[in-house]
């Protein structure tokens, strides 16, 4: 593949290679991009004159492929940053709005800072190995000294983690994803952030392997934190796309839980266990790519049809946009981890990975993180279910909460085709979980040293030496659920005879139900908001506006939200301090020629003393 000798620096030739891991990611990129492109063919009609499939989009997709086929650090960085810049260009499509510009800037700066951290990791590897070739790094990994390895790992984890949207370096993600055109959000959230995972896997499993146990523990902690906080923040959102963006944070957390378990198992030399965790992580990468792209496209269709993404103004779309609703429901069920769809399959594998890793850990402090991680994964799954009951239930069911929503029209054929492909993929990846896991064998074998055993149609989390692990045959469960669900009315009819159905108005204590009576998105999330208030720090603000003195209430305005903890206490504090320091340092250039001459004199005197 390296017939072309490109590269501006001496001895630095752009190189390409495709190994099993890269091939897996390339497949995800190509598959999802294909569906998204079909969708965008129709979606672009809503915004005439915008180059939705223009050069930036093509460069974006191509550079994502470039990232996974890059064979050396320089090629990788080129593709990596091209990907970031192209996606930035797409994010700021609506750049006249201040929020879009600010999101674009935050995104660009964070991704560039991340690139710098990645570059730092690469520089350390270069110092240690004298090469920029990924293959040579992998070959030299066992000889890497532990301090360098840990530094590389940490730099890579934070750098790639930023792209992946790992908490606490996630803040760009919920800003940038909602403001981008939806097909771009779909690609960014579905595919691009996964390349952060790609990088983490390369760093942790190939270039620095094998590391100490605390790496795995750290990744587990970050994964659990991202998963739980991500889903909690998602629950607090009313903007459908922002909600989906926070779910990306959550799912990255789930992927990291699998990867962390694998890292931990590998540090203990148990490659058979590591294979389960890694398979779970990779499988979830593909699954999240599929259903998150599907959901973002659905949100885009809703946005285009109703002009809003605010759940409080949606509702009733299941009747106005039945196909979109059905496809969105498939995505919702998949992301909520419901059998027999793909989300359940990979989460089940993650549970198993956490369990077997905890079981196999040699010490209590190494066993507890994966096991508690499993519990937090359960919490995440249940909260995700709550969130998508909210998203689908409030957004698509019940009564329309706004005129635009009441008059929404079904989206176009191209959009539906794009979504249908991915919805079908959700089902296929779930039912075909066992063959998918077998197909992931080469990639896991390359990274973890062994692959999960292929088990025909049944998925076995059964590492050697464990007698009774779990197994899962989603096709059969699906058959059972469907058969029994169909049998229930048949049996009831058989036993009790036919009955008639009457259609009447919903009971609302005697009045005709109004959209105002419906449970809102805010109200739906309230129990969870209160239960987890110490974590998410909700804020609310009630303004009572009076008329005629204080006797008559004209209007009550209620605003609620979540305190931006990370933004306020981490980033805002950091940037404020930076800017304050910068303002202070700007006194250097105080306009006084005398001061400038004094600097010159001071430099001269210092050098004179130094040269002595």
């Amino acid at each position: 593949m390296s017939g072309l000798t490109l590269g501006p620096l001496p001895g630095l030739v752009l190189s390409w290679r495709l190994d099993p891991l890269g091939a897996f990611f390339a497949l995800v990129i190509v598959g999802v991009s294909l569906a998204v492109t079909i969708y965008a063919l129709g979606y672009g009609r809503h915004w005439p004159g915008r180059p939705f499939l223009g050069p930036a989009y093509l460069v974006f997709v191509a550079s994502m492929l470039g990232v996974v086929v890059a064979g050396d650090a320089y090629t990788f960085l080129l593709a990596w940053e091209t990907m970031s810049l192209a996606s930035f260009a797409l994010v700021v499509t609506d750049h006249r709005q201040a929020a879009v510009r600010s999101a674009g800037w935050v995104y660009l700066v964070m991704t560039h800072a991340a690139t710098a951290l990645i570059t730092g990791a690469f520089l350390l590897l270069w110092r240690a190995t004298g090469s920029l070739s990924f293959a040579e790094w992998a070959a030299a990994a066992p000889r890497l000294d532990p301090v360098t390895a840990s530094a590389v790992f940490l730099l890579g984890l934070v750098g790639f983690g930023t792209k992946a949207g790992m908490i606490p370096v996630h803040v760009w993600l919920p800003r940038a994803h909602p403001v981008a055109p939806s097909h771009v959000s779909a690609l960014m959230s579905g595919v691009m952030i996964k390349l952060g995972i790609y990088g983490i896997l390369r760093v942790a499993f190939e270039w620095t392997a094998p590391g100490p146990a605390w790496w795995g523990v750290l990744v587990l902690l970050l994964g659990a934190g991202s998963a739980v906080l991500g889903v909690l923040y998602a629950l607090m959102q009313h903007d459908l796309k922002r909600l989906l963006a926070y779910h990306s944070v959550e799912n990255i957390g789930i992927i990291l839980l699998g990867a962390g378990a694998a890292l931990l198992a590998r540090s203990e030399g148990q490659s058979a266990l590591a294979a389960i965790g890694l398979t779970a992580a990779l499988f979830h990468v593909a699954n999240h790519a599929v259903f998150k792209a599907l959901l973002f496209m659905g949100a885009g269709a809703v946005d285009a049809a109703t002009g809003t993404r605010d759940l409080e103004h949606l509702g009733g779309l299941v009747k106005r946009m039945p196909a979109t609703a059905a496809l969105f429901l498939v995505g919702s069920a998949a992301i909520s981890g419901l059998p027999p769809l793909n989300g359940f399959a990979s989460e089940w594998l993650t549970f198993q990975a956490l369990l077997v890793t905890g079981r196999g850990a040699p010490a209590l402090w190494l066993a507890l993180p994966p096991l508690v991680g499993g519990a937090l994964l359960a919490l995440t799954g249940a909260l995700a279910l709550a969130c998508f009951v909210k998203a689908f239930g409030v957004g698509f069911l019940g009564l329309a909460r706004s005129a635009r929503a009441a008059e929404a029209r079904e989206t176009g054929r191209a959009e539906l085709a794009g979504m249908a492909i991915l919805a079908a993929a959700c089902v296929a990846l779930g039912l075909g979980a066992a063959p998918v896991v077998s197909a992931l064998g080469p990639a896991t074998a390359a990274l973890a040293g062994s692959a999960m055993p292929a088990g025909g149609a049944v998925l076995h989390a059964q590492p050697a030496g464990v007698i009774a692990a779990g197994s899962l045959a989603l096709p059969w469960l699906a058959v059972a659920v469907v058969a029994l669900a169909l049998a229930v009315p048949a049996l009831a009819r058989l036993a009790a005879g036919p009955v008639r159905t009457r259609v009447v108005e919903t009971w609302a204590c005697g009045v005709v139900p109004q959209p105002l009576n419906e449970y809102t998105s805010t109200a739906f999330a309230k129990p969870i908001r209160l239960m987890f208030r110490d974590l998410v720090r909700p804020v609310r603000d009630v303004d009572v506006i009076h008329r005629l003195g204080t006797r008559f209430v004209a209007r009550i305005e209620y605003r609620s939200g979540v305190a931006p903890v990370f933004e306020r206490y981490l980033y805002r504090a950091l940037t404020d301090r930076l800017v304050a320091t910068a303002r202070l340092l700007r006194q250097i250039q105080n306009g006084s020629l005398q001061a400038y001459l004094a600097y010159l004199c001071a430099a001269l005197v210092a050098l004179l003393v130094l040269a002595r």
Binding site: L85, L124, L585, L593, L600, A602
Partner: protein
């Protein structure tokens, strides 16, 4: 040919004096001639062999060639852009119609001085040439006789004259050291002769001499903490002059520092001068950070970025090694191309908006698509974002640094950290400038002719340069690296 190269701007200056009406044409012709001859002269040096010309007064090696190339390119761009730019200033009434003629005279004279710096073998004459650049460009900086421009020119003049005086002391000390070693007094200031005999020079004396030259020429090159004139001068000069100052003048001054660096390496040995370059390079990067983060003027923003990049080049030379020196030469070239492009874009924007205050510039991407794209992409490029060429050169320096001694590693860490912070600051401002909605009361657009040649072409070159370098340039930077490594006599 070298003499022809020197004669071209001089003749053009005379032409401007003699034919006041056709001054713009004379200047443009001179610029074209300089461009062509500069290319030819530079190309002749990249083979890797050094040679004397013009009776021994001119010494040409790849390092001189690179500077000649940069001066010719940037100088030609500035001179060719000037007529349209000045015509607008005259149309706006900013300057009286009789004044441009003097502008062209000073411009061509400063081009002459800048071309002389890399060509002259004699260190004393080189000093004279550097001083001549100060005097001529100071007149250009103060060309708008507004208060701010005068203030900037005054500070520029005083600081650089003080600096250049210090450098002269360094030249004297070098002469002291040499005159004992080299019998011929004329040879005692010949750089090539000194380089050949550098090992015999008194190390203590050369240490002091290098310190003085570093502070002296460093002032001119814009190395912190002597950089303070730079943002004022770059900010207040007419845009083509800002481009010239940033792209060509700083390179010339740094060239002078590098010549002494080579002497110091030969005489003192070890890493004395390289460490000082690392120190000043890192300091320049660090000093630029706060001023880029909090900034109110577009051209000053780019001026501080110039401080940073000259620092990066100095740091690259300080790091050394084949890769580091190649990358330093590459970076010097990249900076000259990118920064002159950005200053020209800023000039066009400033004329359209009637201001350079960042708070009042908005919607450039809509109002002036070419300038907007170039501003945004060019800022990304100069801020060190892949896939543009400056990233490649910065990465090369960082790679060399990380493979080097502890001081180089530390400096590289400053490099990486500093560039990230500066990226954040520059992009914050430039995104606001380019992407906000444009004001409604903007003057109608009248694009400057050949905008693409001055803006799009360099941008494309920077983009390609991140992926592929023409063999011509690879050879050039390799040869410069070889000179800086000291492998050619």
């Amino acid at each position: 040919m070298t003499l022809a190269l020197l004669a071209a701007p001089l003749l053009a200056a005379l032409g401007c004096l003699a034919l006041p009406r056709a001054a713009a044409w004379a200047s443009s012709l001179g610029a074209l001639a300089t461009l062509g001859l500069g290319f030819a002269v530079a190309a002749g040096t990249f083979g890797g062999t050094a040679r004397y010309e013009a009776g021994g007064y001119v010494y040409l090696d790849a390092l001189s060639g690179l500077i000649v190339l940069i001066v010719a390119l940037v100088g030609a761009a500035a001179a060719l852009r000037s007529p349209a730019y000045l015509a607008r200033e005259v149309a706006h009434g900013t300057i009286p119609p009789t004044q441009p003629r003097w502008y062209y005279v000073w411009l061509q004279l400063s081009l002459f001085a800048m071309l002389a710096v890399p060509l002259l073998d004699n260190l004393g004459l080189m000093w004279v040439a550097v001083e001549a650049t100060t005097v001529t460009t100071a007149l250009l900086v103060g060309f708008y006789r507004r208060g701010h421009a005068l203030e900037a020119a005054w500070k520029y003049l005083v600081l650089c004259t003080a600096g250049i005086a210090i450098a002269l002391f360094g030249v004297l000390l070098t002469y002291y050291a040499a005159v004992h070693v080299l019998p011929d007094e004329a040879a005692a200031l010949s750089w090539a002769a000194l380089r050949a005999n550098a090992a015999h020079l008194d190390p203590e004396l050369m240490k002091l001499a290098f310190a003085l030259v570093l502070v002296g020429y460093g002032t001119k090159a814009g190395l912190a903490p002597m950089h303070t004139w730079l943002p004022d001068a770059h900010g207040q000069a007419p845009a083509p002059v800002s481009a010239l100052l940033s792209g060509a003048l700083l390179s010339c001054a740094l060239y002078a520092v590098l010549r002494y660096h080579l002497l110091a390496v030969g005489a003192v040995g070890g890493t004395y001068s390289a460490d000082l370059l690392l120190l000043f390079g890192a300091l320049s990067i660090a000093v630029a950070v706060p001023f880029v983060l909090v900034q109110h003027d577009l051209k000053r923003l780019f001026a501080y970025s110039s401080v940073e990049h000259i620092g990066i080049v100095a740091l690259g030379v300080g790091v050394g090694g084949r890769l580091g020196l190649f990358a330093a030469a590459f970076h010097l070239f990249n900076h000259a191309v990118a920064k002159s492009m950005l200053f020209l874009a800023a000039g066009a924007i400033g004329q359209r908006y009637g201001t350079l205050r960042l708070a009042r510039l908005r919607g450039v991407a809509e109002a002036m698509p070419l300038e907007g794209v170039v501003l945004l992409a060019g800022t990304l490029a100069i801020a060190g974002s892949p896939p543009f060429a400056p990233f490649a050169s910065e990465l090369g320096i960082a790679l060399a640094g990380f493979a080097g001694r502890p001081a180089a590693v530390a400096a590289s860490v400053v490099l990486v950290t500093g560039t990230v912070l500066i990226f954040g600051g520059m992009l914050y401002h430039v995104i606001q400038v380019t992407l906000r909605a444009a004001p409604a009361n903007l003057a109608p657009a009248t694009p400057l002719p050949f905008g693409w040649a001055f803006l799009a072409l360099p941008l494309a070159a920077l983009l390609v340069g991140g992926i592929w370098l023409p063999p011509f340039l690879t050879d050039a930077f390799t040869a410069v690296g070889a000179v800086l490594e000291g492998s050619t006599p």
